[in-house]
Amino acid sequence: MNSPQSHACEICPVHNAGNLIKLGVNMASWDYVVALAGNPNTGKSTVFNSLTGLRQHTGNWPGKTVTRAEGGFIYADKRYKIVDLPGTYSLLSTSTDEEVARNFILFGQPDVTVIVADATRLERNLNLVLQVLEITNRVVVCLNLIDEARRHRLEINDRLLAKELGVPVVPTAARQGQGIQELLKNISAVATGEFVCKPHRIKSESKALKNALSKLTNMIESRFPGLTNARWVALRLLEGDPRIIEAIKTGELGNLIPATESEFVTSKLDLPENGKFGQRVDSERPAKPLPILH
């Protein structure tokens, strides 16, 4: 980006063709599922397009993508299915778009969740990042609009940010195609388990909240041993999230306990397309009917 040469290499089709094959929507089967989350209007759809080669219409207004889009690509001989989630500021409210995003990240168990964050508004974007880090520890943060941040005379120490968050952070300018190769490399590293994230967990809760959470978290962990996001489940239970209550009642949460790496990948490949995966997608059915008013 700074040196014209590396930039030229990155956007050269020959360079890309070596590693990345854009699949558009032709996905017969896949090795890894990548979820794309982020605040509205951070360029999520642009990142999605540059990974998949699709030309989904992007718009400069928050809330453009309310349904999820899916696409695919091949990188380093692995097939990736990528799901573009609706842009949300948080994952804590009851609106449909937040529910879609929240439930997909939890129940869809994507192998990697890429969070697209707006570098010019980092603080606000971090609110969502921290919430996602409570749900899953397989995350790559895509620090997008880095060119705009520079124009606003903002400098972001992405290495320190990566250290703070415990997950890879990749600065990108997706509109210009900058940083996409680096992003792919990191997605692959997290997907294959080559990079193990140690995600930041929220620390500043009040004492009362901390106590309540730890009591509940302990109970959940002993009911579902090995569950990696018991604290998030506890948070949602305190909120009274009906989807989580249901998952506890039916024992569905037990399905979310990760198997060891090799088992995880092969078992997933053996699945029929509308077998277990169908159930997962079901948990975030896009057209959720409104509660009917009387």
Binding site: N41, R55, H57, T58, G59, N60, W61, P62, V66, S90, T94, S95, T96, D97, T120, L122, E123, L126, N127, V129, L130, Q131, R151, R153, L154, E155, I156, N157, D158, L160, L161, H200, I202, K203, S204, E205, S206, A208, L209, A212, K215, L216, M219, I220, S222, R223, P225, A234, L235, L237, L238, E239, I248, K249, G254, A287, P289, L290, I292, L293
Partner: protein
């Protein structure tokens, strides 16, 4: 599962009791915690490396585009400019496509059919019914869409739409609706079905239903061509030639604004009757202005919208063309079926300041608004029995210029009132079947789907009726 030391029920009841202990401020204190962490991390990693540039474009633009004083006038100017460019720019290419597909290809195909000895009913059904309906839709709709959509998309890319929402937020709140409804309304200008899916950004079910029911008052791309054509034929013609384009654009703008007004009035009425409640607050982010990427915009709006919509229009127009041809050629007691229906509807239509042709066209066009104009033209010729036009019953014919359109309309007994009421009825009538289906999918309620479908058509009939009565009293 029963082996585990803690049962699911125990977890749930513990959660319930803890929820009571923590009390109401749980949500706020959690959000507080997240904000604190985020603030701490951001404070450590972000540094300002200097002053912002001397001149802040975003702020300067926002001062004009979102000011109380100039925000709305600038919005109206921009809309007028978009309409005017569309109307002025679409005429020539429309004529060229029509002369190619209709004047040249159609006679050639007919000739070919005659040579290979195809029976009259077969070539009539296929070429006069199906082919001409498709060709009509392409020539009437392609040019305005190919101009309108990219222009609208450029504004969207630039970051203007959230400013529109910002400007109109106050009005929506006064109407008891959600400010984000301005965004779903903007989506409705492309396609109402898309606008209805977009209402998912509204959290409160009450406000979301209001947004769904009123989305139909945003003219969709199936209706823009109707508005633009009728405006330039009837209303533009009232002005001196030099101003015709501007006057037609102005009348389309007037209909658009009426749609916005009806959105407010209906939202207000709903939120005070069946959908009572206060408007909820929300925060709306004004994104930075971004220079639109012109080439990519042209490409995506051509592929995503123009071609998509056009394909849909042709898919619906083809069976409609076939149906019209059959209705016009199956005769019962000397008259064709179409004539019987139109004669039956005509008194009712005249009462509304319309006519039987328009009403029948709107019934045939329930699957897609796009085919209203071609259907109207064809049925008008049929009912007026214009010897000089077309090749027979149920044939969509060639029209070389605006005068030819006018001759057809005049022979069909059209007046300025018919044109005005057609524009009004095009704005205020039932949503197309795709939109109705989308409403059903999104609400999951047959009741609200019925309300959304019937409310506008009843309003449209009432408004047209009143306009017609007043018009006749004054005129």
């Amino acid at each position: 599962m029963n082996k585990s030391p803690v049962s699911s029920e125990a977890i749930l009841s513990k959660a319930n009791s803890l929820r009571w202990e923590i009390g109401e401020n749980y949500h706020d204190s959690l959000i507080d915690a997240i904000y604190q962490d985020a603030g701490r991390i951001a404070g450590r990693v972000v540094t300002k490396t200097g002053e912002k540039p001397r001149f802040d474009w975003d702020r300067a633009l926002d001062k004009i585009l979102t000011s109380r004083l100039t925000g709305l006038p600038v919005m109206l100017l921009l809309l007028t400019a978009v309409f005017w460019i569309t109307i002025a720019g679409a005429n020539v290419p429309s004529g060229m496509i029509a002369s190619l597909l209709i004047d040249t290809f159609h006679p050639a195909l007919k000739h070919l059919a005659a040579q290979i000895g195809a029976p009259w009913w077969l070539s009539g059904f296929l070429l006069d019914g199906i082919y001409l309906a498709g060709a009509w839709v392409v020539s009437v709709m392609l040019p305005p869409m190919a101009i309108f959509f990219p222009l609208f998309t450029l504004l969207e890319d630039f970051g203007y739409l959230p400013r529109v929402a910002f400007n109109m937020d106050n009005l929506f709140r006064k109407a008891g609706a959600h400010g984000k409804q301005a965004l779903t309304m903007s989506m409705g200008y492309g396609c109402n079905a898309a606008g209805i899916v977009a209402t998912r950004i509204i959290d409160s079910p009450r406000e979301r239903l209001i947004a769904i029911i009123t989305n139909n008052f945003a003219l969709c791309n199936g209706r823009w061509p109707t508005q633009i054509l009728i405006a330039s034929l009837f209303i533009g013609a009232l002005a001196p030639a030099g101003l015709a384009g501007l006057v037609s654009a102005g009348s389309v703008l007037a209909v658009t604004l009426l749609g916005i007004l009806l959105t407010f009035v209906t939202s207000w009425a709903l939120s005070r009757t069946v959908l009572k409640g206060e408007a909820s607050t929300f925060s709306l982010e004004l994104p930075p202005y971004r220079p639109p990427r012109i080439l990519q915009t042209l490409y995506t709006s051509l592929i995503d919208r123009t071609i998509y919509v056009l394909r849909r229009a042709v898919v619906f127009a083809v069976p409609a063309g076939a149906a019209i041809w059959l209705l016009s050629n199956i005769k019962v007691a000397e008259l064709s079926l179409a004539e019987h229906i139109m004669n039956f509807l005509n008194p009712f239509g005249l009462l509304l300041g319309l006519n039987g042709v328009v009403l029948l066209a709107y019934i045939i066009a329930i699957p897609a608004n796009e085919i209203v104009i071609p259907t109207v033209l064809m049925l008008t010729v049929l009912s007026a029995k214009l010897a000089g036009f077309g090749a027979g019953a149920g044939v969509m014919f060639e029209l070389d210029d605006a005068n030819a359109y006018m001759n057809v309309f005049q022979a069909g007994g059209w007046t300025l009132l018919t044109a005005v009421n057609l524009m009004l009825f095009s704005l205020i009538h039932n949503p197309c079947s795709t939109t109705i289906y989308t409403i059903y999918k999104e609400t999951g309620s047959a009741k609200w789907t019925t309300v959304s479908a019937l409310l506008p058509v009843v309003m449209g009939l009432v408004i047209c009726f009143f306009v017609a009565q007043v018009w006749r009293l004054v005129g």
